[in-house]
Symmetry: C2
Subunit: 402 residues, 2 copies
């Protein structure tokens, strides 16, 4: 098999941990597989460089930040190669550019346009472990770029797709995806398999291990992703794959919790045609990710709008809301809420999934403020103080500990 392995900043955070990564790779090579390893910068390095840059400028040129930040991954890739070579496993490090990763010119948040796998294939054919500096590429004109948050995961998934690897293993300090956050519900169980769509909806469960951007790309390129830990490599991890590959689909796969949401209420909104469109276009233009929206029926030519946004976007949102002051009687911002989501592909073909959730929450006297459902997800907004209780009640209601 050809395996693409990705090791994050924590997994390569010290010289000892890089040595540990070399040991993991050696075992996989011994099992007869070909390996492309994608590495992040040693944890702390990137932040140190950002601090350096910010000591000079609040707004350093993105292209210069790319030159600066791309160095950390290069260091790790060389060190890992040296450790592998020393152990008798031939290895070669490659920068993003050298690995053939060509991006657009949006410095610090570039998108991969294509990957020329020639150099990697050549080295794999020579029996070498290819160690790629993650998080980076080059523009058509040859300037170095970085891919933004989660860029190293993205590098690994994109390479796995381009080179048609059998699997892409993302190593972090967490050994897989759980039915819910084990810190909230100790009975949470590690999932063996989960579909891309479920993973995307369970984002908050996977946020620390997998960014949505990478899961989306894995889905698009049909890459089998595995989330596992470099600290317990003997544990199998969770396979994220397409729905068809999962034989027995549970009705509910997991419960996600998102506390970083604000509910915005707009009361007494003049009910003229297109008003909702104006408001949400203004928010979209400011790149604010509006999630759940509820509009109440108009009474006396007035209507109400409720929606949620990420807490980080609250200040920008308030600025935008000012523009609509003439048409709205009252604004209301509530940060003391949270979003609990029940996710499962099995919902599609089962009825009564939602009512079970509502009953479970009602039994705990938890009031639901907003409900929103999709094919494979039911989300509810509840008061923040009920967050953990709601998660546990739902985890229990769907027997996720079984």
């Amino acid at each position: 098999m050809l395996k693409v392995l990705k090791f994050g900043g924590t997994s390569v955070g010290t010289l000892e941990r890089i040595q540990n990564v070399a040991t993991i790779i050696k075992k996989i090579k011994d099992d007869g597989h070909d390996v492309i390893a994608v590495v992040s910068a040693m944890s702390g390095e990137t932040n140190k460089l950002i601090e350096y840059a910010e000591s000079y400028s609040k707004m350093p040129a993105p292209s210069e930040m790319d030159m600066l930040l791309s160095s950390g991954e290069r260091v790790t890739s060389a060190l890992l190669s040296i450790a592998l070579n020393e152990a008798g496993y031939s290895a070669i490090s490659m920068s993003g550019g050298r690995a053939g990763i060509v991006t657009d010119e949006r410095h610090t948040k570039a998108r991969i346009e294509y990957i020329d796998t020639k150099n990697m294939k050549e080295s794999i054919a020579e029996g070498k472990v290819v160690v790629v500096a993650g998080f980076q590429g080059v523009t058509q004109k040859g300037r170095v770029t970085t891919l933004g948050r989660g860029g190293s995961d993205l590098t690994a998934v994109a390479i796995a797709g381009a080179i048609e690897a059998d699997v892409c293993e993302i190593y972090t300090d967490v050994d897989g995806i759980y039915t819910t956050d084990p810190r909230i519900e100790p009975k949470a169980k590690k999932l063996d398999k989960i579909s891309y769509d479920e993973m995307l909806e369970l984002a908050s469960l996977g946020a620390k291990v997998l960014q949505n951007r990478s899961v989306e790309m894995a889905k698009k390129l049909n890459v089998n992703l595995i989330s596992r830990s470099s600290f317990t490599p003997e544990v199998e991890g969770t396979l994220i794959t397409k729905e068809e590959n999962i034989m027995e689909q549970p009705i509910v796969s997991g419960i996600a919790l998102d506390k970083n949401q604000v509910r915005v209420g707009m009361y007494g909104v003049t009910d003229r045609p297109g008003i909702a469109s104006y408001i949400f276009t203004a928010l979209a233009d400011a790149n604010i990710n509006v999630d759940m929206i509820v509009q109440t029926v108009a009474v006396d030519g007035k209507t109400s709008l409720d929606f949620t946004i990420p807490t980080t976007d609250l200040e920008i949102c308030k600025t935008i809301m000012h523009k609509f002051e003439d048409e709205v009687e009252k604004f209301d911002y509530n940060e003391k809420i949270c979003k609990v989501s029940i996710v499962g592909v099995g919902m599609k073909s089962h009825t009564g999934v939602a009512s079970k959730a509502f009953t479970a929450l009602a039994n705990e006297n938890i009031n639901i403020r907003i409900i929103s459902t999709s094919e494979i997800k039911i989300s509810v907004i509840v008061e923040e103080k009920y967050a953990e209780l709601a998660v546990r009640a739902l985890h229990d209601a769907y027997d996720l500990d079984k």
Copy 2:
């Protein structure tokens, strides 16, 4: 004017010092010049990375060391660009490869094959300060290489030559070339100008500020080099240029001292044809730089050979000497010697320069063990304990403090 400026590791050793370098560049830009700045890694960074690598392997692959070590200069180039941009001076960082520096494939000690100045010229034409990561290039095939010791100086000189810059200023923590080491002779004076050849012969005076490899390249490419300090940029420094550019040539320019020499004596050598050739070929094959050689006249079919080598090569030299045991009666290694050199292009057209040296040394009762002369240099080997005394006596004899 188009100026290429090079700032060494000490000059960019801290964030404050990089800011100071930005201030120097800003002033030069304000004076109406175009600037290409070549930077080293922040002092300490390269050694840290070498330590990292050596913790894994005593013999890391040179190509991996290049990937590793080339990162430090990239960081400095981005940071300096950010500092300049913030001050309102448009700047762009370039890796060696991006600056068009193409080398051979001898990793960790690559030689520059050519420089494609297109990218640099384009940015200069846009009024930008170009900040090049020194010490590195890429092979024809696009793999990163480093240029070995003094590589950043070499980068600057090669760029100045390729782009036909008016001057190449090498900034260190020393403000120029002195008639002798001021720590030995406080009356030593800074030279305004000196020829390439004199500089090469005065290597030990310039060793801390200029490597011979860079001076040789400057001579070959006819680049006007200036050695000056980034800590006292108001001081003019020393211009190293071709002989024709120096109107009034002093008879003696400086006195150099080299304590890192060993005198090797071979006594009772069988005087057969080619014996000296065998010996020195064996030493050359081991890359030992043999300096001064004296052969005494043969008596009874036996001869004596005396020569000097750098102290660092002593152990290898001894190993080689063993091969000649059958043909040599006695070997003798003396580390307690030093080489004092009197350098000056004016010697060519003046007589009595050597006799003045011998008189000065004799007046101090310093015995000369070996003498060797070239067109512009007289070197003598004396006992190491007389090193400083010899330097001061000669400095005085040629009125270098005047």
